[in-house]
Subunit: 470 residues, 2 copies
């Protein structure tokens, strides 16, 4: 029923995209939420949670589309979730993007939020969900029509934020009528997936986009770095990689390897069919472009390999040409990364290993060491990988309803998402050739048909949820 209108909306959206880097506008709001939803605590017992609201398309009777913020600043996430803006006019929807506590500007103790467990302990998925539930209830109440009819809430999210959107529907079905969860790694927990699945999927992305040759060159990179790192002269060669700090010891080398691995992961995640600026400015299909550069040239000596490798890497590290040097320490300095690492040390225990089946340096999943590091880093003594599964049911999704899990089959996170339909109201949608959360991004002329079909499915499903909501 919405198809004609939809086509117009998409065409208009595409025209806009032709002429400008569209930026969406919001009103920034703050809502006071309990620091601890589940207990009475001494003051301070509240803090301000940020949310962004856009009522441009809202007609006073439409639904509320709520994005449950994940890792990082909510403003960035909102700018990269154009699908919600694209479809808002169809549904006359109110758009709301709620920041996740301990990210962006929603820091309960300001910059001191990460000092110790005393501050950090309120950072948890259950607290975050209670925040989202509180905001949902608050918005339902203030946007109620005169006859007390409350608006329907539909939740959206991608990656971790997609998990939260799904959990919000699962735990608070009386507040949220349905959820579109894109690229949500629902099963990324010990016992639910194999530890090698994530890096194998990444390797597939490079294989599919750059060919076996590219994968081989990346593998060679590790060998060369390992060989060079053994001597002082060798480590000197790393200056070709334009690292801000010197690579002097094995700890530095480990950081360097992690930094590179992270680039390969992010490049796969951002392997969109058009230029983006998600982690860093990148061209369309960066993996393809990178692999073309990397494989265009062979060289025997390790030094000239690194020179060549560095030039290829610049596709990611310096696409704008403005980057003076590469900071490989950022993970320990950035507040977002600290919060995220804390979450990975408490609830989001993600088993990871590399084997001969992927293009990374072989590394087993060492849970004991992982737990030790969490204790060292944050004082976390009770790492409980089973808790999140107990809290949200693991693979037992059939007990719930009204969730669409969509994923690109070239999305690294698809290694841990819902790959099959669960029931007649919990769907899994595979988007061939797509990477991470592509369907929730803005309509683009370069999008393939599969993405278009997925978005139509979302629209049809949301329409049904709204029609059946009483």
């Amino acid at each position: 029923m919405y198809t004609d209108k939809l086509l117009l909306v998409f065409m208009f959206s595409a025209l806009n995209a032709q002429f400008s880097q569209t930026k969406y506008n919001f009103e920034t709001k703050y809502i006071e939420v309990p620091l601890d939803h589940f207990a009475s605590i001494e003051e301070p017992n509240v803090f301000n949670l940020r949310y962004l609201i856009n009522a441009e398309y809202y007609n006073g009777t439409g639904p509320i589309f709520i994005y449950t913020g994940g890792k990082g600043d909510i403003f960035v996430q909102a700018q990269n979730t154009g699908f919600m803006f694209d479809i808002a006019p169809i549904f006359n929807a109110l758009l709301v993007f709620v920041e996740h506590r301990y990210y962006g500007q929603s820091l309960p103790f300001g910059n001191d939020s990460f000092s110790s467990l005393k501050q950090l302990k309120y950072l948890s998925t259950t607290q975050a969900l209670a925040d989202f539930a509180s905001v949902s209830k608050y918005l339902k109440d203030i946007f109620s029509e005169i006859d007390d009819l409350q608006p329907t809430v539909v939740a959206f999210g991608a990656s971790y934020s997609g998990m939260l959107a799904a959990w919000l529907r699962m735990k608070y079905p009386y507040l949220v009528t349905g959820t579109i969860a894109s690229s949500a790694p629902m099963f990324d927990f010990p016992g639910l997936i194999e530890c090698d699945m994530f890096y194998e999927k990444i390797t597939q992305v490079y294989d599919k986009n750059g060919g076996e040759e590219c994968v081989e060159m990346i593998k060679r990179g590790w060998d060369v770095i390992t060989a060079l790192s053994k001597t002082k002269i060798g480590r000197g060669v790393f200056s070709e990689l334009k690292i801000c700090s010197k690579i002097e010891n094995s700890k530095d080398v480990e950081k360097l390897l992690n930094w590179l691995q992270n680039i390969y992961v992010n490049m796969a995640l951002a392997n969109y069919n058009y230029p983006t600026n998600l982690y860093t400015p990148l061209p369309a299909y960066p993996v393809k472009v990178f692999c073309n550069k990397l494989t265009s040239y062979y060289e025997i000596s390790n030094k000239s390999f690194i020179q060549h490798y560095s030039r290829a890497l610049e596709l990611y590290t310096n696409y704008t040409g403005n980057n003076l040097c590469n900071n490989i320490n950022y993970i320990n300095e950035d507040l977002t990364e600290i919060a995220w690492n804390y979450q990975k040390c408490t609830e989001l225990i993600r088993p990871r290993c590399s084997t001969e089946n992927d293009m990374f340096v072989t590394k087993p999943w060492d849970y004991e060491k992982y737990a030790q590091n969490c204790n060292l880093r944050f004082g976390v003594k009770d790492i409980r990988p089973e808790w999140t599964i107990l809290a949200y049911g693991g693979k037992n999704l059939k007990y719930f309803s009204n969730i669409v899990f969509s994923y690109g089959d070239m999305d690294p996170w698809s290694s841990a998402t819902v790959l099959d339909n669960v029931s007649d109201s919990i769907f899994s949608i595979n988007i061939p050739d797509a990477t991470n959360q592509l369907d929730l991004r803005k309509f683009d002329l370069a999008d393939n048909n599969y993405v278009a079909e997925t978005r139509k499915f979302h629209i049809r499903t949301i329409t049904q949820w709204l029609e059946n909501d009483d």
Copy 2:
């Protein structure tokens, strides 16, 4: 299909009851649970939760019947939930009674558990539910059959414990297949019920069991006490009531009135068709017996009224004849009552008022004063009556499934329970002439037909749950 077997079981159970005060046997166990399920905290971060287990009827493939402990010692609750024992042989069920944290022997900090918010803040329904979920998961795992088939869990509870059993199904449907919730005051929250409903229901119980005359005598009691409390000589007359401490000032009088009101409430709750020992030893139909005593005699003077009133009250205060004096301060001294008052000051905000429509002293619902008292008593600064409704959905039960809400129409708690069927899997069962949680008590020859029918309904429903569980 179970009807014949059922009849035999009930008859055997009744025969037993004829000859002895049956006591059920358990193995007492403890399980280490996180003090805070939702956060990483400094040590101590775990404590021992008690549970009772009875495997007499368990055949290795039956379901697990789990009772989610409420206010008080789990042993007492288990002894008063004979229905689970009566039906265990039919289902070959494992019986488990889990104590609620901060009650009985499940005190996280021993007797210091109630010193301040620092200790008390882990006492909440969300934490308690996570405890029950943990125990359910643990039992499912250890009682799994060899082929990894996990046993089905059915939850049982009455009053507050019935709310928890229902919430456990609502929040953890992948762990608990269905819930029998007897006399659960699901709607006992501000905005969901009127404040006068509870005391009106109590008044109905006295009216139905003792007639209008009884209600009038109880009303007269308040007037007499109020009149006497105004002079020293008058207060001297209270010695007839055998209070352990002297009634000297208005605070003492208030305590006396609360103590009496509490007796009337408890007597209504314990108004069973056979003798019980729940709050205190009582005969069958104590309200009837009490009213008979109270109304058998009229006297003009206040002093002789109090003498007579006291003799009638002894039905409750001294049925055994061993009570030397009545302690009206117990609410502040008993650990169970402290824990319960803390819960009433944080999550279980129950609106209460008395009006001219009931038999109690008229008293408005003064939320401000209530909140102030909670602050004074426990340092609770953020009393949030809306939280529990947000957490569990208030009256929006239609989003859930597989719960039976049963209630006696002479049960005080029926004033706040689910009075109508919600859907084709959430039922409400009215038991005429029954009081609090009668259906979950042991079969008794004096039970009326309605109770028998309700129990049969439970058995049929559980049978269906087990048959449909895959």
